[in-house]
Amino acid sequence: MSTIGTGYDLSASQFSPDGRVFQIDYASKAVEKSGTVIGIRGKDCVVLAVEEIVVDKLYEVDAARRIFTIEKNIGMAIAGLMADGNFVADIARQEAANFRQQFERTIPLKHLCDRVAGYIHAYTLYSAVRPFGLSVIFASWDETDGPQLYKIEPSGTSFGYYACASGKAKQQAKTEMEKYKFADMSTDELVQSGGKIIYQVNDEVNNKDFRFEMGIVGRETNGVHFINHASWSQLAIEAGKAAKTADGDNEI
């Protein structure tokens, strides 16, 4: 199953004979252990939904939050190591602030994604540092560019998406996503889809104790990114729970 990288996996500055950089592969493994995160792009809205697995009942409700606000209209969600996530969120915020200081406007998402991807990639080049154990999803909406969604892999490659997923149930989430047509969805429909997908891919046996978290930005939020906005989160959670119950009924 997993290739043993004997000898070629000790630093990110080494290739293996079959052309892999094992440290980056191992970083991806860290991402795969994390709770699922999805990003979906609608007609004039983008939703980031996260399956926050509750590791410890003693945590505060907003502990280990994996969604961040980078700028007024830019949200970021991560799968992987929390510590790396906090660090990269700060880098992204600095990039956005720097851009604003020079050009006096909000950084376009493509530009921000390129900068952060370049930063993450830089950490895959040297033996002195380790790659970030992160998959980063960026979302934004504004009047000129509309809804935007980008994902950065641990290797530092980034792509634009209509819908993307990372984490534990990545494959399952992708399969679910292919059933929907997000591009024409309204904000409400998109929010409900996000809830449904996360609730459906959640592993009831092993990770029953989880928290649903959501970032949303779009025309209906006036171009402002909100995390766990009361009314929309409720809509998503209700849709998710309903889908789960319906599934349960179907199984019987």
């Binding site: 606000t69 700028e71 602030a97």
Partner: protein, 247 residues
């Protein structure tokens, strides 16, 4: 610097007046190169009104005639910028980034007007003390804690003045006495009274201040609404000119 100290020993007023001729380097007007004139803020029972004309001058030239000098900082804070407008723009850019940083932190806290005034006080006083003053005369208006209207002026020396009327420039000389005269003794202004006062003061300021134009904007901040209205035209009636003689 040492030379300056020797010659100005016993003459502290030279530094306190912040006249350009006393500062090392090039000379420029005491009010800044591109100043805006008056800004007037009036607190009423439901919120605050802040108004300023839409002119930024360049010496004797009325250079920029459509500048919004009342700026919305957030849903609960307005800022009126008088004095050197370049300094105002620079300060507003910094404040905007602070607002974005607060939003990113997502901890339910947001910039309150009193907090902003305190920060501006420290900023302006620090710059004054370094003898690199920011020639900004700022009016901060907003809603404190979701319900209480708050209005304050901060001058270029870093002195804050919190009151039901706050003004900068000519408004401080002409409009403030007028507002004080019309203030009911036992209660706040009503919105109607405050609006009438703004209209009257802007008219009088246009008549009397040579560095002003008849167009102005008014910002209103209440717990439900924070927006900039306008531009409005100040009433002008020059019919009196016919009767003036003797010069």
């Amino acid at each position: 610097m040492a030379n300056d100290m020797l010659t100005s020993f016993g003459r502290p007023r030279r530094f306190y007046n912040l006249m350009s001729a006393d500062l090392p380097g090039t000379r420029f007007p005491a009010s800044g190169i591109t100043p805006g004139s008056s800004v007037l803020g009036i607190r009423f029972d439901g919120g605050i009104l802040v108004s300023a004309d839409t002119l930024v001058t360049y010496g004797n030239l009325a250079r920029y005639q459509n500048v919004d000098r009342v700026i919305k900082i957030s849903d609960s804070v307005l800022l009126g910028g008088g004095g050197d407008f370049a300094d105002i723009q620079s300060i507003v850019r910094t404040i905007d980034q602070k607002i974005i940083n607060d939003h990113c932190r997502d901890d339910g806290a947001s910039m309150k007007p009193m907090a902003l005034v305190n920060w501006l006080t420290r900023l302006l006083y620090g710059r004054r003390s370094l003898k690199q003053p920011l020639k900004a005369e700022i009016i901060v208006a907003g809603i404190e804690d979701g319900c209480r209207p708050y209005l304050s002026a901060v001058d270029a020396r870093g002195s804050p003045f919190e009151n039901y009327v706050a003004a900068s420039g000519f408004a401080r000389l002409i409009a403030v006495p007028l507002v004080r005269e019309r203030k009911p003794i036992d209660r706040d202004f009503s919105l109607k009274e405050a609006s009438t006062l703004i209209r009257d003061c802007m008219r009088i300021l246009y008549y009397r201040d040579t560095r002003s134009i008849a167009q102005y904007t008014v910002g209103i901040c209440t717990p439900d609404n924070c927006s900039i209205k306008g531009p409005f035209k100040a009433e002008e009636n020059w019919a009196i000119a016919d009767h003036v003689s003797g010069y």
